[in-house]
């Protein structure tokens, strides 16, 4: 008995250690660094909440906060909604479905550097597709990435196109919903929309909730590198999200304490939104149940 169970623990150990060493430990330690000023050369100096006070009065930080909120507010609903739409559209075994599923997932496996290279062409005003289409209508566009709104929309578009992970999760979740429920809804004469409202949505709600929470993190993560390469946060900080600012402060300006503090604020903000969202979800669940 002990031999086998001990063996199981040994098998679990590498992941536990790896996670402790590379995820849990670093997250806690970064939280500690958030209260210091540290340049990686001289020992870190404890600064307490002064770091956060300085950040709050920092115009660049405030602008990054706004940019982050705008981009997340646009990207997350589109990503989760798009993933849901695709999953519901493509979950069956029909002609073209397999190919369309693969095509929908494809942008998510393309390395982010390649995505940046491609978007460089997409937004090119002279021979990129957007430029070609608009000029065919006699309008033409300027340099998209030099316009704050254009740059932000580009970032959102990049984020929305890499919705593969959520799509995959929703696809699996949709396939696990029991078919008899749908048959029942059909025999009761429910239309597509009623079916969605009364069967699909309530049953997928827990997954959607978790996915939306995760997407607060992922939607920013997938655009980090393309943004860095395409706009470097510009123009005028329109695409400088908090992860980008954390990178810039921590690793370009070697203000690791600042980088850690921005990361901590981002984490707390995510946690707050997740908490509110789960509370809403629970209330909604109760409302549906009664």
């Amino acid at each position: 008995m002990t031999g086998y169970r001990a063996g199981l623990r040994w098998l679990l150990l590498p992941w536990l250690l790896g996670t402790l060493l590379l995820v849990v430990g670093p997250a806690l330690i970064t939280a500690g660094f958030a209260f210091t000023r540290y340049d990686a050369l001289s020992p870190p100096q404890l600064a307490g909440f002064a770091v956060f006070r300085d950040l709050w009065s920092d115009v660049e930080f405030r602008r990054a906060l706004v940019s982050t909120l705008v981009i997340v507010a646009l990207a997350v609903p589109l990503r989760v909604g798009g993933g849901l739409l695709l999953a519901l559209l493509l979950h069956r075994r029909r002609r073209l479905d397999a190919a369309t599923r693969a095509a929908a997932y494809a942008p998510s496996v393309v390395p982010d550097v390649a995505i940046a290279l491609v978007w460089l062409w997409v937004v090119n005003p002279v021979y990129g597709p957007i430029g070609l289409i608009t000029s065919a209508f006699g309008a033409g566009i300027g340099a998209v990435l030099l316009d704050p709104a254009g740059a932000r929309l580009t970032v959102v578009a990049i984020s929305v196109l890499s919705l593969g992970e959520g799509f995959l999760v929703l696809l699996a979740a949709r396939r696990e919903l029991p078919q008899p429920l749908y048959d029942l809804a059909r025999t009761e004469g429910a239309g597509v929309l009623t079916e969605f409202r009364l069967v699909t949505l309530p049953l997928l709600a827990p997954v959607l909730g978790l996915l939306t929470a995760r997407d607060l993190v992922v939607s920013l993560q997938v655009v980090m590198v393309p943004t860095l390469l395409l706009t470097n946060g510009g123009p005028l900080g329109a695409t400088k999200t908090l992860p980008l600012l954390a990178y810039e402060r921590g690793f370009r300006e070697l203000e690791l304490g600042d980088g850690a503090a921005i990361a901590l604020l981002l984490t707390l903000l995510t946690g707050l939104v997740v908490a509110v969202q789960f509370r809403l979800l629970r209330r909604w669940n109760r409302a549906v149940a009664t």
């Binding site: 086998y4 169970r5 001990a6 063996g7 199981l8 040994w10 098998l11 679990l12 590498p14 992941w15 250690l17 790896g18 996670t19 060493l21 590379l22 849990v24 997250a27 806690l28 970064t30 939280a31 990686a40 493509l90 069956r92 002609r95 479905d97 397999a98 190919a99 693969a102 095509a103 997932y105 494809a106 496996v109 390395p111 982010d112 550097v113 390649a114 940046a116 290279l117 062409w121 090119n124 002279v126 021979y127 070609l132 699996a172 978790l210 929470a213 993190v217 993560q221 590198v225 860095l228 990178y247 921590g250 690793f251 690791l256 980088g259 921005i262 990361a263 981002l266 995510t270 997740v274």
Partner: protein, 272 residues
């Protein structure tokens, strides 16, 4: 929605998603030095591989490729082992331990990456591992993403628990049970995990940017990112770089497509 409309939606989706990809591939075959095309050009009149040759002259493709292959060659098997072992162990450990570990895995999915950067940097700095390939391989120790562990767990859970018990009564150790009974029955999921790990490590630019910028340890994404500064007239070279970087990852997609995205997903995972 009628069948016809449904098919139309699929066709539109496919075209929207695949046309740019096709244009990029054909664009990379356009002979260098020609003026930019004045409209949409589906296939260059005189296709050539000159952009790829040019690319090889601008960046040390051999070195970049070698480093990328070293990273993926170690990180992918490592991810597989770590994730598969953990997933296997989780199916048989006590209820409380399982809940804790699965809960932790899901919580970890919600931690923003920037939260790890500074401490990881300091860790690698202290261990003298900055500007080596180690920081690029290290994520595999934590199974690359908790997703791989959850996937492995789901696959092993589909096998009836009496099989583990039967193996154990026959004297098999936990390792032998994983190797001889578990692993051979979850080949589809194992391949999918390998594909996920490959896609991550092949395209991993961020970790290189943060911890491994030294010339000799540059991987393919790092080397090719430098082309961003290129002159616009060299568009075919940019396309060539994108193709070179994306192609292996898209081959990984084919693997995922046959398991995770397939309608026969569950059947496939049970059968193999």
């Amino acid at each position: 929605m009628t069948r016809g409309a449904g098919t139309a939606v699929r066709v539109v989706l496919l075209v929207v998603l695949l046309l740019p990809a096709a244009l990029i591939v054909t664009g990379s075959l356009r002979r260098l030095g020609l003026p930019a095309p004045s409209g949409l050009e589906l296939l260059p009149a005189d296709p050539s591989l000159s952009s790829y040759r040019d690319l090889a002259q601008r960046v040390p493709v051999g070195l970049l490729l070698r480093n990328s292959l070293v990273v993926t060659g170690i990180a992918v098997p490592l991810t597989l082992l770590v994730a598969s072992w953990a997933g296997f162990a989780l199916t048989q450990l006590g209820e409380r331990q399982r809940r804790f570990a699965l809960g932790a895995a899901i919580t970890l999915l919600l931690v923003p990456l920037p939260m790890l950067w500074v401490a990881r940097f300091v860790l690698y700095l202290r261990l003298g591992l900055l500007d080596t390939l180690v920081p690029l391989i290290a994520p595999a120790l934590a199974a690359t993403t908790p997703f791989t562990v959850l996937l492995a767990y789901r696959a092993f859970r589909r096998i009836p628990a009496t099989q583990w018990e039967a193996a154990r009564l026959e004297g098999a150790s936990a390792w032998q049970t994983w190797r001889r009974i578990g692993l051979p029955q979850v080949k589809a999921t194992t391949t999918a995990i390998a594909a996920i790990a490959f896609v991550f490590h092949w395209g991993n630019y961020l970790d290189a940017l943060l911890y491994a910028q030294y010339e000799d340890v540059r991987t393919l994404p790092v080397g090719l990112a430098e082309l961003i500064e290129l002159d616009a007239s060299d568009q075919p070279v940019v396309f060539a770089a994108a193709v070179l970087l994306a192609l292996p990852a898209l081959l990984g997609l084919l693997v995922v497509q046959r398991t995770l995205l397939s309608t026969t997903d569950r059947a496939a995972a049970d059968m193999d």
